[in-house]
Each structure stands twice: as C-alpha cells, then as structure tokens.
C-alpha cells in the first residue's frame, strides 16, 4: 500500500512535467498539424539555461535566498525558450508551410539535433547538477514521502493549467487560436492575423516547456544535453494519449502517462515474475503510444476525426 501511494505521488509529479511538455506539442499540432520534434530540445534548453543562470547568480550574489535564485533561473529559462521557440518557427517552419508534409518534419528533426549539439558544445557531455538551493524537507503522506520540490511542481502545474484554460477560453487570443485551429483560411477572412497567432502559440508552448524542463531537473537534481529526447518522446505520447490537438487531453494524458509509467515500473517485476525489471520503464510510454494509435487514434478526449477525402 505504501508503495502504491509512493508510486502514485511520483507518477503525478512526473506526469505534471509530461503534461506541460505535451501542451506544447498539442497546441502546435492543433494549429499547424506539425509534430514539433524540436520541442523536447527546447525543454532541455530551458533546464540548461536555468541551471547555468542559477550558478552565475550564486556566484554573483551569494546572499540571495535560494528560492529567489530558483525563481530568477526559471524566469531566465522561460524567456530564453520563448525566444528560441519564436525564432525556430520564423526561420525554419514558416518558410515551409506550403511545402509537402515531409519537409517541415525533416526540418524539425534537424533543428532538434542542432539544439542538442549546441547544448553539448556549450555545457559539455556531463550531467550538470541542479544547485542545492531549495528546501529538501520530506513530508509524510499516508506512509509515502513527498519533497517540497515535488509539492511545488504539483502546485505550479495546477496554476499553469488553470491559467492556460482561462487563456484559451476567455481571451481574444484564445479565441483566435481556436479559430486558426479550425481553419486557417477562414480565420484569416475573419480578420485574424494567423501568423501572429502561430507565433503566440510557439511562445506559449516553449514557455511551458521551459517550466517543465526546470521542474524535471529540480526534481532529479541534474540536467543533461540529451534529456530532451526521451522527455519529448514521452510527452508526445502523452499528447496522443489525451487526443492530439486537445488541450485538456494533453493535461490528462500527461498525468495518466506519468502514473502508468510509475506504477508500471514499480510492479512490472511482480507482474512478469521477475522476467522484466524496472529498466523497462521507458518502454511503457511507447507501448501506450502504439496501443492508443492502433485502438483509439483520436485519443481519450479527442473527437473521432471526420474523415477527409
């Protein structure tokens, strides 16, 4: 029972991160029908920038409280990633909007590799420790333990999700985004500046990715140039699980995938009689992805897509 609750908590924390990254995929896909392969790397860049900025701050202002250092690091990461997302869309995706589908997809893969290697050149191949500036107290819930960082992750995720739901449903930008997702040409006729909406989508998605990157590195205590790959892949799986293009779906899919992975890793040994161990944790996301795509391609919350001829 203790293990179950502990794995549930771990799963929800992990799932929060997946959900935030999944939102970036799902929003871009909803509007451009493009899998932004580089999104995982944008997330990684967020983690790297945050860790680097925090290191600098601690050197420059050793008296600054840890929480402030972390917040400033987060702020720097979010701004850097928003700028990055904006530039990627402008320079690499926009010129190819009319090209055959394969072209932007291949470009996205190229960007992804480019970012990975740029990060490696700047920060090296080693794991970079997340500075130990945040409180490390552990609290007990029903026999399972949860850290302050994990509580902060869960809380911040909730706030961000609520904010995003408000933005999409209650603001004029949100309305414009939904209109563009329905039909670019119609939205344009209605006076929506489609390019602006697409840019805004990349800005928001990249910002969310940055937050997720900082969260995941704070939780595991480290950042690495290659961390974006697997994270991105899993977050995409989460977006598909929830129904790609659907914002609530990405949130649900992310949390669900985190829990599935966590419980799966905890129990796979018992389930297979010891044949498979927790090293297969990473397989779950793909298994979920493939099962969803085969049996319910529209995802949990996605509408059954209208056939197009």
């Amino acid at each position: 029972m203790d293990i179950l609750i502990q794995q549930l908590i771990n799963g929800l924390v992990l799932g929060s991160v997946y959900a935030l990254v999944a939102l970036g995929y799902t929003m871009v896909y909803g509007i451009l029908e493009l899998i932004n392969f580089a999104h995982g790397e944008v997330t990684m860049m967020g983690a790297m920038v945050a860790v680097a900025v925090m290191g600098m701050l601690m050197g420059a202002a050793p008296d600054l409280p840890g929480v402030w250092v972390a917040l400033l690091g987060l702020l720097a990461a979010v701004s850097a990633c928003m700028a990055l997302g904006y530039v990627i869309e402008r320079a690499a995706y926009r010129p190819l909007r009319q090209a055959p589908r394969l072209a932007p997809l291949i470009t996205a893969i190229g960007i992804s590799i480019l970012l990975q290697n740029i990060a490696m050149m700047i920060w090296g191949k080693q794991y970079i420790p997340f500075p130990r500036i945040l409180p490390e107290a552990r609290h007990n819930i029903l026999g399972a333990s949860i850290t302050d960082v994990q509580i902060a992750i869960l809380g911040l995720t909730l706030v961000i999700m609520a904010g995003l739901v408000w933005l999409v449903n209650r603001t004029s930008l949100g309305r414009a985004m939904r209109a563009v997702a329905q039909s670019k040409s119609v939205a344009q006729l209605m006076g929506v500046d489609v390019n602006k909406v697409i840019s805004a989508t990349f800005l928001i998605g990249s910002g969310l990715g940055a937050v997720a990157g900082v969260m995941v590195s704070a939780n595991y205590g480290q950042a690495h140039y290659y961390m974006g790959f697997l994270l991105g892949l899993k977050a995409f799986s989460a977006a598909v699980l929830g129904g790609i293009g659907n914002i609530a779906g990405a949130m649900l899919g992310g949390l669900l995938l985190g829990v599935i992975e966590s419980l799966g890793a905890g129990y796979i040994g018992d389930l297979t009689g010891g044949f498979l161990g927790s090293q297969y944790q990473d397989v779950f996301a793909f298994a979920v992805l493939i099962l969803v795509l085969v049996f319910r391609p529209s995802g949990l919350l996605g509408e059954k897509g209208v056939e197009r001829a």
């Binding site: 509408e303 209208v306 056939e307 001829a309």
Partner: protein, 254 residues
C-alpha cells in the same frame, strides 16, 4: 438487371446527416446525373459509393457484387472507378505514368517479377504502356504523354483523370464535376467523349453544375438536397419539378 443498385444509404458526420436514406438504380449503358445545390451531399454520395467514406447504413450492389463498406481498392476492382472534383492526379508523375497506375488493379507482377524482369512482367508492362498511350489518345492528350501531370493545362488534367480511371476497365465511371473550369469548346468535346464512352458500353454517373451539359448529356437525373433525394426522372421531368425549383431557388436566396 440494373448495373448499380443503391438502397437506403446514409452517412452521418458529427450529428449532421450528410446523406439520409438515398436509394436509386442505374441501368447498363445509362448516363445518370446527380445534381443539387452546394452541400446537398453529391460528393459525399460518391465518396460513400467508392469507399472513401464508410457509409453508416444501406446497401450497394454493383453488377450483383456487394460493395457496402468495402475498401476503395476492392470497389475499384469490382468495376466502379471515379474522378475527383478537385483533380487528384499524381502530380510528379508523367501523364503516361498516371494512366499506368490505373492499370495496377488489372495487373499482377510483383517484386520478384520486377527484379528478374520475367517475360510475363515485360509483356504486362508493354501492355500497360500501350493501353495507356491508347487511352491518352482517346481523351485527346497523347502528345503530352511524357509531361508531368502538374504541368498539364487544367482541362487536360481533367481529361487525364478520366483516362486514368478508364485504365482500370470500369463497368461504371463516376465523374465528379468533370466540366468544372472548362470553356464552352472544351465542354462540347467533353460531352462528345462521354457519349462515345457510352457508345462503347460504359455506364456513367455524373455530378455536374452546368445545367446545359447535364440536361443535354444525361438520360436520367437524381436531385439531392440536404442529403435527401428529392426527385428522380428524365431531364424534362426534373426541369418541371416544383420541389427541385424550390430547392434551387432557396439555395440562391440563401
């Protein structure tokens, strides 16, 4: 016996009835027109018949073969070929290659035959090429056989689509607005082509907006409005049908 028998075919999109209980029959050697205002469900009907949409209910029989909910390639093989309203050619293939793709269902050589270039494969290829050329001549674009489909003039693209569909040796050819974007000379020669195809024993089903062309070419007509059949009969009967007039006037007012 009728060539095509369609009974009570329905298709719902997200609560909206795009087709409701449409039934009709099409005789051998007949040119059958489907008309109706925009959004009446004409193309949806074509898509449902040719397997691009899965109809929700109903029955479709072509020459006695059940086609309800069959895959597009199975329907084509049974003898129902089509063209598209928004021209769907293989743009980076030459005109001849496009028509040769149309031979796919009537040929059978596979990987091994292609790699070994067996006598049977070579004969089949030669035959496809020959028939392809003949069909390009038939529709009047033989001089463009090596031109990429995307570089053909609009009217020629429409003709190529017909040639490609003919290459599949259909019993029934369904044409979705074949005259769209054509000038009156082109329309005239299209009409002659359709009549000569019928002469050769082909049955045709035609969606068309050009009233003159439809009335002058079709033996019988069916009128759809909001996914329902509101009339069926000879061109003269349709012209005088009050429901049809109301549907068209309503559409114009709106």
């Amino acid at each position: 016996m009728a060539l095509l028998e369609v009974s009570n075919i329905s298709k719902v999109f997200g609560g909206l009835k795009a087709l409701s209980d449409v039934s009709f029959t099409l005789g051998r050697g007949e040119i059958f027109g489907v008309i109706g205002p925009n959004g009446a469900g004409k193309t949806t009907l074509f898509n449902a018949l040719t397997g691009l949409y899965t109809p929700d209910s109903g029955e479709i029989r072509l020459d006695g073969t059940h086609l309800f909910r069959r895959k597009p390639h199975e329907i084509l093989k049974a003898g129902l070929a089509r063209t598209f309203q928004n021209i769907r050619l293989f743009h980076d293939m030459s005109a001849l290659e496009n028509v040769m793709v149309g031979r796919h269902a009537r040929t059978s050589s596979g990987v091994l035959g292609a790699v070994l270039r067996s006598a049977r494969t070579r004969a089949e290829e030669a035959d496809s090429r020959e028939r392809g050329q003949a069909l390009l001549s038939r529709v009047g674009i033989e001089r463009h056989s090596q031109v990429l489909a995307r570089h053909l003039a609009y009217g020629d693209q429409r003709r190529l689509e017909i040639a490609r569909a003919l290459a599949t040796e259909p019993k029934l050819l369904a044409l979705d607005e074949p005259a769209a974007g054509m000038n009156s000379t082109e329309k005239q020669s299209l009409r002659e082509l359709l009549l000569s195809l019928r002469q050769d024993g082909l049955s045709l089903m035609l969606i068309e907006h050009d009233v003159k062309l439809v009335m002058g070419t079709c033996d019988r007509l069916m009128v759809l409005d909001y996914g329902e059949k509101i009339a069926e009969g000879l061109p003269v009967e349709i012209r005088a049908n009050s429901k049809v007039i109301a549907a068209y006037l309503g559409a114009e007012v709106a």
